[in-house]
């Protein structure tokens, strides 16, 4: 819990707040930005755009083999066919976990992340420990998340160094036969779509 803004001393916070206000006021008065649009963006990220979008896509892929095939071939195109998920830009790539390979997504250079599918990246995703270690010691990172994989599982790390964005399609847990897409979406966690976690197990308390 260290390093977050609320741990900073009050005077620094106030200075930052003043700087943001100054910048926002200047850019508004210059005619570059519309404060109502700024509010709408904040509201969208606070209420609409989050891991639920990605979870719906994963649950659909678990239930519908034809959709899964299209998703793995062209995720942007596949998601455009879903009315209930907001549209996504180009260059989204879905990568499938299998018994042989486990995928993990990182951005070592900044914070590239499939925002449209998962919402804002969590602080740990943007942090130096994750960005530095994910490409070198991913099993150690998984251990930080309490995840342990078989020794012979191939760990594939995708460093998001361009404008491609990666969404992990986790493996569907056993014991979920006959579940509805809605039920399945409930067990798809954000971290399971980044690769630092696994879906919740049926019957497990969250």
């Amino acid at each position: 819990m260290s390093g977050h803004d609320h741990d900073h001393d009050h005077s620094e916070l106030s200075e930052t707040q003043l700087r943001v206000r100054a910048l926002e006021t200047v850019l508004t008065e210059k005619g570059y930005v519309d404060p109502a649009a700024l509010d709408a963006i904040v509201e969208a990220y606070e209420t609409r755009i989050g891991p639920r979008n990605g979870a719906a896509v994963v649950a659909k892929a678990w239930c519908d083999p034809a959709f899964k095939q299209v998703l793995l071939a062209d995720a942007t195109k596949a998601i455009a066919t879903l009315g209930h998920v907001s549209r996504v830009g180009d260059h989204l790539i879905a990568i499938e976990n299998t018994p042989k390979t486990h995928n993990i997504v990182v951005c070592t250079l900044c914070s590239c992340y499939p925002w449209e599918m998962l919402g804002l990246p969590p602080i740990w995703y943007k942090s130096a420990p994750y960005r530095s270690r994910a490409v070198k010691d991913p099993r150690g990172v998984l251990n930080d998340f309490g995840v342990s994989l078989p020794k012979d599982t191939e760990i594939r790390v995708w460093d998001s160094t361009a404008e491609t964005r990666f969404l992990v399609l986790p493996m569907r847990p056993a014991g979920t036969d006959g579940w509805s897409e809605q039920q399945l979406a409930e067990i798809v966690t954000r971290d399971s779509m980044i690769g630092t976690g696994l879906p919740k197990q049926p019957g497990a308390t969250s």
Binding site: V20, Y32, V33, I41, V42, I123, S132, T164
Partner: protein, 218 residues
């Protein structure tokens, strides 16, 4: 540039600590910074790579000790000033002293979804792709002083072309105002031991997305 932002493979930053039930924003000003960045991007004031390059140029000690959105704020101020969109006196006083430049467009509540959807980075190829899936390639040992998306840990290492993503605008050119300069983009996968030596986890494979100028045949 070989900046502090290029973090892949560095030791000493400690364990990854997740915050339970993390809110979208920890302070209202963080939301304002994010929204300003989105709105200015939509307006065409600068590109993602200008924002990234400005963050990369922050002094290392500032980069390491500033929160994520504070880095965004500092980089936005840099871009506003460098692109002549406001003056230092205006940022200091917190008010516009002259009228603004004309930008490409303005994000309004009616089109806010457009500001939230990523634009396409596809561009018309200038020539055929040099590599095909399965080709052996080596990441060039280059150290440009300006913005690049080739991480240091991959430079000089041999990998295999796994995917071709078509032709995209080239961040290294965009960030220094040399235009889109479209380049073919590939996913190149490296064996963990090629990157980190014989003691690396033998089950590890790491890929980067590499623009064609980052690569040479191998």
């Amino acid at each position: 540039m070989d900046g502090i932002h290029d973090m892949g493979g560095r030791d000493g930053f400690g364990t990854v600590v997740a915050e339970p039930n993390e809110p979208p924003f920890h302070e209202p000003w963080e939301g304002s910074v994010l929204a300003l960045q989105r709105a200015m991007g939509y307006a065409g004031a600068w590109h993602n790579d200008h924002a990234r390059f400005a963050r990369e140029r922050l002094p290392p000690q500032v980069y390491l000790t500033s929160s994520y959105y504070l880095k965004w704020l500092l980089a936005m101020e840099v871009n506003v000033l460098e692109r002549g969109l406001a003056s230092p006196a205006e940022l200091k006083s917190g008010h516009a002293l002259t009228s603004g430049k004309t930008l490409k467009r303005k994000l309004t509540p009616v089109v806010v979804q457009d500001g939230l959807t990523r634009s396409s980075f596809f561009r018309q190829p200038q020539g055929p792709a040099r590599y095909k899936i399965g080709d052996g390639v080596r990441a060039r040992n280059i150290h440009p002083k300006t913005h690049t998306r080739l991480p240091r840990y991959a430079r000089g290492r041999r990998g295999t072309v796994e995917l071709c993503h078509g032709c995209h605008m080239f961040p290294d050119s965009v960030a220094i105002n040399l235009g889109d300069n479209p380049q073919w983009l590939y996913t190149v996968v490296f064996d963990g031991r090629e990157l980190w030596g014989p003691d690396a986890d033998p089950t590890l494979k790491v890929s980067i997305d590499a623009f064609e100028p980052y690569l040479e045949p191998a």
